[in-house]
């Protein structure tokens, strides 16, 4: 019985080990790497990815997938910038509208998936193109934000000794992270998400609100992607319709590398954070190296994702978690 329980944790343990090994490995090669400043930069540079990946964690835990994440980041980012700069809205107002739009699109996708029993990937793939189109429709050019109020948001930071500044976006990320852990582990909704991913048929027969949960998961992911878009806009001080290309893949990779099973039902929000950090380490390594080009990041992430997917397959085959594959017709 002990062995079986260990199996469940293998992906998460593997994730932590990979993160540690990578961090130390790169640290040994580049002495400047293991500084606190670089560590803080992991969070600053990847706050938006982390937030979106947390939304993705819930979706994948529920047994679904959301491919619209990257486009949603672009759309809400460009929308925020547009509303502030071109429409003269108050930044707070603009942010609220963006978050509302993201949640709404997520909600609609959830409804399409639930009520019409459509495959999540095709619905969210459509959402991906829809959002990208909307983003380009608003503006093809990057919209820089000069609004002083917004600038003051961006400049909000806690200064630590050693003149290390931790900007607001890092706190937003950490706040989302803590809230997500709370939701996942201490609310009925969170547990229903796990149950849905573990066995949607059982969840239905146990009387859980399957439909509501499923729709809420996509709405939540939409909301968090929109928040990621806002954070990205704060990070770059601009909204750009071509940002976030392929980001859905990075988000999925963070979740899967973080030990969440693609089939749903098993995983941890904390794992996703480590998954994001692993990608941050790889990216920083490539920057440190200087001779490697940025596209190596994509290849490396693809490779990591592949390895973890294969690891999951072997674990689930070994422990023979049989899950009903057919949908319920009642």
């Amino acid at each position: 019985m002990k062995i079986k329980i260990d199996r469940k944790y293998i992906p998460v343990i593997a994730t932590f080990l990979v993160a540690l090994l990578l961090y130390c490995g790169v640290g040994i090669r580049y002495p400047g790497f293991m500084t606190f400043r670089v560590f803080v930069n992991f969070f600053i540079d990847n706050a938006y990815l982390g937030i979106a990946a947390i939304g993705m964690t819930f979706v994948i835990l529920s047994g679904g997938i959301d491919l619209s994440v990257g486009s949603m980041v672009a759309f809400t980012g460009v929308l925020t910038a547009f509303l502030i700069e071109k429409q003269g809205l108050h930044p707070l107002m603009a942010i609220v509208i963006s978050l509302g739009c993201g949640s709404l699109i997520g909600y609609v996708m959830g409804c399409l998936i639930h009520y019409f029993k459509s495959a999540p990937f095709i619905v969210t793939l459509t959402g991906m193109f829809f959002c990208r189109g909307l983003a380009n429709l608003i503006s093809l050019e990057s919209i820089p934000i000069y609004n002083p109020v917004f600038k003051s948001f961006v400049r909000l930071a806690v200064e630590l000794p050693g003149r290390i500044k931790i900007p607001a976006i890092v706190f937003i990320f950490l706040l989302v992270f803590i809230a997500a852990i709370y939701i996942a582990h201490f609310t009925k909704f969170g547990r229903n998400v796990y149950a849905l991913g573990g066995s949607s048929q059982s969840a239905l027969l146990m009387g859980l609100p399957v439909g509501r949960t499923r729709i809420a998961v996509y709405a939540l992911s939409g909301f968090l992607s929109a928040l990621a878009g806002v954070v990205f806009t704060m990070y770059t001080s601009a909204g750009y319709g071509l940002s976030g290309l392929g980001m859905e893949m990075e988000a999925i990779a963070s979740v899967v590398i973080g030990g969440t099973l693609l089939t749903g039902g098993v995983g941890y929000v904390a794992g996703t954070l480590v998954g994001v950090l692993i990608q941050a380490i790889i990216q920083t390594f490539i920057t440190f190296d200087g001779t490697l080009s940025s596209w190596w990041t994509k290849i490396a992430i693809g490779l990591l994702l592949l390895i973890f997917i294969l690891l999951q397959r072997f674990i689930s085959q070994a422990s023979r978690i049989s899950k009903p594959t057919e949908t319920v017709n009642i």
Binding site: K188, R191, M206, I330
Partner: protein
């Protein structure tokens, strides 16, 4: 057993589905503190009755009374709220969550909106204690055996409030130790005054645990009996009963196996698979119809799957024409001249979206490979031939097979195999759920094929069918080959006795 009014009482309940009358005016009574076995073969209406009680289906006619009050459950939840809980063979819990969570899912103890894990843990332990079970409730459910998982499901049901507990084939995937463990719990619950409905195919278990038995057949009530007063043989008779004679196949069947070509076609030695069937021997002659008789879950389908290479056997050898062969895929089995009409027509037999013609030529085409395409003309000829000889009722060969009736779909699958010209055909319940006329035709076909030299393994729950068609009958019980009957021994009474007593 209490002699007062029943806790659950069903009066004249009926339910129809398109083309089938699943239940027709059935009565059923359950008292407090009794275990009531619900028996019947496939299509008897057991599961329909249970689904009506648990609100999965809505009844067409009739009434259900719970403690004297009429109820109308409209969903499993609703039924559960009223005190009717069900535990299924396939545990309907979430395997990836902990035991404690599974017991409290959807009704976790909250404090300021946050789940109280500690309280949930102690609550779960208490709920399991009621069944005299001590488990580490923080462990993942899937780390426990199916039996324990079922008991967790029972614990959940009781904790939600159950007056009536329905156990729907809970023992099908349990070994004998686990069954004993489960029965201990059932006895305790009985003592606590619950009404328990027990659905199973295992006769031993019925006689071990139940107080009374209700038998259904073809959607109708056969009767309600005290378990002690109903001998096994009578129970089997009541379950299997008799179809009226549609034709007299005995005339066509060659009287003794002496007439059958003495040449052996296949020999199976000590073939076995854990959890499916214990080691068995089997032999089959050319042109022989070998019947497999046994109740559902006795291992008959499992044997068919092993022979056809769908499942891999753990041990044992198969000889064809005295040469040992090994195949672990249907593809290889087909190459040796095998054919297999599976029990579940819809999920593993027909290809719904394809036409009747395409369904018929599929196996032959697969055997030939994709490059050796059967010409359109030949395809049409083959289809026409089998539509004619098997009397498949279809407007034309290009009709989608899903638009055909069950019997005609079955014939299309048989045609698929006949077209591939097999030496050996496995027919698993080929006549299930099809009308009498089609049944008779398929039985006739089996005999004429055997006359032409094809070896056939014939599986059916209808004993009269087996006795009519088979030259030799292998009787199975509890995944074990009990005996083999030949010639004059092939008789419904004898088979029933064998299944009952072993």
């Amino acid at each position: 057993m209490s002699e007062t009014t029943p806790i659950l009482s069903v009066r004249g309940i009926s339910k129809s589905f398109p083309g089938v009358k699943a239940l027709a005016g059935v009565d059923f009574n359950l008292y407090q503190g009794e275990v009531h076995a619900l028996m019947g073969e496939n299509g008897a209406g057991k599961s329909t009755l249970i689904k009506l009680l648990t609100g999965v289906y809505e009844r067409d006619q009739g009434q259900i009374f719970l403690e004297g009050k009429e109820i109308r459950p409209h969903s499993p939840n609703h039924a559960q709220e009223m005190g009717i809980s069900t535990v299924y063979q396939e545990v309907n819990l979430v395997p990836t969550l902990s035991v404690a969570e599974n017991i409290f899912l959807g009704r976790q103890p909250l404090r300021f909106g946050a789940i109280q894990w500690q309280k949930m843990k102690t609550g779960a332990e208490a709920a399991l204690q009621r069944l005299n079970l001590n488990l580490d409730v923080k462990q993942q459910l899937s780390s426990y055996s199916i039996a324990v998982q079922q008991m967790v499901a029972i614990a959940r049901a009781l904790d939600i409030s159950a007056k009536i507990l329905i156990l729907d084939e809970p023992t099908s995937s349990l070994d004998s130790n686990e069954v004993a463990q489960l029965f201990k719990v059932v006895r305790k619950l009985k003592k606590d005054g619950l009404g328990i409905i027990f659905v199973t195919h295992f006769l031993d278990q019925v006689y071990e645990i139940s107080d009374r038995i209700t038998v259904l057949r073809n959607g109708q009530l056969v009767g309600e009996f005290e378990t002690g007063a109903l001998p096994r043989i009578e129970l089997i008779k009541k379950m299997i009963g008799r179809e009226f004679e549609a034709f007299n196949a005995q005339d066509d069947k060659r009287e003794s196996s002496a007439e059958i070509d003495k040449k052996q076609f296949m020999k199976v030695e000590r073939l076995s698979k854990k959890g499916a069937v214990v080691p068995f021997d089997l032999s089959l002659h050319i042109g022989e119809v070998l019947g497999l008789a046994g109740l559902l879950g006795s291992g008959r389908t499992e044997i068919a799957r092993l022979l056809f290479g769908i499942d891999k056997a753990d041990h044992g050898r198969i000889f064809l024409d005295n040469r040992q062969v090994a195949f672990f895929s249907p593809r290889k089995a087909i190459a040796f001249g095998f054919g297999f009409c599976p029990e579940d027509r819809k999920t593993s037999g027909i290809i719904e979206e394809l036409s009747v013609k395409e369904n018929i030529i599929l196996a032959l085409q697969a055997k030939k490979g994709w490059l050796h395409t059967i010409s359109r003309k030949t395809q049409e000829e083959i289809a026409a031939t089998y539509i004619r000889t098997l009397n498949i009722a279809t407007p034309n060969a290009d009709q989608k097979v899903k638009n055909l009736s069950g019997g005609n779909q079955q014939k299309a699958i048989v045609a698929r195999w006949l077209a591939s010209n097999p030496r050996f055909l496995i027919l698993d319940e080929p006549t299930r759920g099809i009308d009498i006329g089609a049944k008779a035709e398929i039985q006739k076909l089996i005999l004429s094929l055997s006359n032409e030299g094809m070896s056939i393994l014939f599986i059916s729950s209808e004993l009269n069918e087996v006795t009519r068609c088979a030259h030799r009958v292998v009787v199975l019980r509890d995944r074990r080959k009990i005996t083999e009957l030949t010639a004059d021994q092939i008789d419904e009474q004898v088979i029933m006795h064998t299944i009952a007593e072993g």
